[in-house]
């Protein structure tokens, strides 16, 4: 059942939230050993929250738009009194003293948190293989990765271990795993969803968003978690989105651009596999058949996104992760002096990918290299903002594949960091520009694994994106990759 279906049944009293949560906890019990989607299952808390929802219904009150909906939370979002690890050893034993805004908003809407999901350590990765707690496996083929960094959240929804989940997206970490697992994943406009209580990776890039099995569920979750939050100084001071009302409007007359540089043809970055290209072309045709005006659009600087990102994101990460020094939270490795203690703690607590990015970021920010690397990457962002602005004068939305390939096999890309990083080539530009993007499942590749199609728009174009995403969903040749259905 969809999240909105669960909520409707619980609100009407037709179904009890406690029964829904038991069904999900049982499924987690059966499948999580194999998939490793969850770092922590919040069984007791979930049962109590579900009982409270049922009590609310019994008293004749409305428990909220997501009443009784089981939700999984990426384990880089703070949950009061409940371990929050970022899948890193360095946060061992730490229990946040407060809830992230998104966690509080979901609870206030009646959603029931069932657990914290696995991720690449500190959200750095594209396969969820960089977790200190072992990799998550793709529920559609357990020899393959679920994508990353929000791989646990994507796998949880794809395997129906949660009706919806939250991820965070710094360079594609919601959209790419959504594509790999055959679910819907949305990265909202930077500032549209509060980052308060999200453990920071790249503060100018990070954004929280939902995973779901349908576009309508995605819209419903974003309506709940979005909107201004005074606790986040980068939160946009605007009312929450009204999204579900636009879903039936169609795309008649909408202008949609195929983004040349990220679509695999002439003038595109390399590495976009032919079967994925074919799915993107079919998606564009489907939108055209539904009345959209489709044309090719060029954004030359999109090809610079990958390089700029792998300077900006590590630079911000090296700064953000300096707080993990054995003083205030989690792990401490004792040593005779504070400096030695900090070095010993960080050396023992961080995994290889996190160390690599801290090193890269520290280098890019260090004296003598700042202007050549970090400074230039920031200018590329300006260039990209200008070029995307002119593209959005020609079209309402842009279309690309979400990722260059379908889900690859575990271990296939761990030896060489660059082969992992190129996974993000299609998703990165909208993090650098702060623009929203959604991945919608649209058929499968030659290997039978799902392909995601990405729709991009200018800042705060979420209603237009959802309007077109609903059409893509309705015309998709495969019911979304949800196993067994």
């Amino acid at each position: 059942m969809s999240a909105l279906g669960v909520a409707a049944a619980v609100r009407s009293g037709e179904v009890r939230a406690v029964d829904v949560v038991e069904e999900y906890l049982a499924r987690i019990e059966t499948r999580n050993g194999e998939l490793n989607a969850f770092n922590l299952v919040m069984a007791d808390e979930a049962r109590a929250a579900a009982a409270a929802v049922d009590a609310c219904v019994a008293a004749g009150d409305d428990p909220g738009p997501l009443a009784g909906v089981p939700v999984a939370l990426k384990d880089n979002m703070c949950t009061q009194g409940i371990a929050t690890t970022c899948s890193s050893k360095i946060l061992e034993g730490w229990e946040p003293p407060y809830d992230a805004t998104v966690v509080a908003r979901l609870a206030a809407a009646g959603a029931v948190a069932v657990g914290k999901t696995n991720l690449d350590e500190f959200a750095m990765g594209s396969s969820t293989e960089n977790s200190a707690f072992g990799p998550t496996r793709n529920p559609l083929d357990t020899d393959r990765v679920p994508g990353g960094s929000s791989g646990g959240s994507a796998a949880a929804v794809a395997a129906d271990l949660a009706a919806i989940s939250l991820g965070s997206d710094t360079g594609g970490s919601i959209r790419q795993p959504a594509a790999f697992c055959g679910v819907v994943g949305m990265k909202p406009t930077y500032g549209a969803v509060s980052r308060y209580g999200l453990i920071a990776f790249g503060s100018s890039l990070d954004q929280i968003g939902p995973f779901s099995t349908s576009v309508a569920d995605s819209a419903a979750v974003l309506e709940v978690i979005g909107g201004h939050d005074p606790f986040d100084s980068t939160s946009i001071d605007a009312p929450a989105f009204d999204l579900r009302s636009v879903l039936g409007r169609g795309v008649d007359g909408m202008r949609i651009g195929i983004l040349r540089e990220l679509s695999g043809g002439i003038g595109s970055v390399d590495g976009i596999s032919p079967d994925v290209q074919a799915r993107a072309a079919a998606a564009a045709e489907a939108l055209e058949a539904a009345g959209a005006r489709v044309q090719e659009v060029s954004v030359p600087s999109a090809t610079l996104g990958l390089s700029a990102y792998y300077l900006v994101a590590p630079a911000e990460a090296s700064s953000n992760l300096s707080r993990f020094d054995g003083v205030r939270f989690g792990l401490r490795v004792d040593a005779p002096t504070t400096g030695e203690m900090m070095t010993a703690t960080r050396t023992a607590g961080f995994g290889p990918e996190v160390k690599r990015r801290i090193m890269l970021g520290t280098y890019a920010l260090s004296a003598g290299y700042y202007d050549a690397f970090y400074g230039k990457a920031l200018k590329v962002r300006t260039l990209m903002l200008a070029e995307f602005a002119s593209a959005y004068e020609q079209v309402d939305l842009l279309l690309t594949p979400t990722a260059p390939t379908t889900a690859f096999r575990l271990g296939e890309r761990t030896a060489d960091p660059m082969t992992m990083y190129v996974n993000d080539v299609c998703t990165i530009p909208s993090n650098l520009t702060g623009h929203p993007g959604i991945s919608v499942p649209f058929g499968v590749g030659d290997d039978g694994m799902p392909v995601g199609i990405q729709l991009l728009g200018p800042a705060l174009s979420e209603p237009t994106i959802y309007q077109a995403a609903a059409v893509l969903e309705a015309s998709a040749p495969h019911p979304g990759g949800k196993e067994g259905r």
Binding site: P97, S204, S318, R332, T337, M359, R381
Partner: protein
């Protein structure tokens, strides 16, 4: 192996980042960081002289809250989550006499 970053630079950066690397890690990072910087040569080579840098995609404005008292989280809730605390403060090993 790429020569965009030297072994000595890797050792220096590790010290700045407060990470202690083994010899194997130093070799590995020298090669890998070199490869990544090689990929970033397209950005490095770009002529972007007059373009203003963008550090945040949104227009940046200072945000102030109303000057009203409100409850904050209790100090003890943070201190109990720290590896060591004493007398209402974080406790750390000696600092005086350390190399900077």
């Amino acid at each position: 192996m790429s020569e965009r970053i030297t072994r000595n630079e890797v050792i220096h950066v590790a010290r700045l980042a407060r990470l202690s690397l083994t010899d194997t890690e130093i070799d590995e990072f020298t090669g890998q960081l070199g490869d990544i910087l090689e990929h970033a040569a397209d950005v490095e080579a770009l002529d972007v002289g007059d373009i203003e840098p963008t550090s945040l995609p949104l227009p940046m404005t200072n945000v102030l809250r109303a000057d009203v008292r409100r409850a904050s989280l209790a100090r003890d809730e943070f201190l109990t989550q720290a590896p060591a605390s004493e007398a209402g403060q974080f406790r750390v090993p000696p600092i005086l006499g350390e190399e900077p």
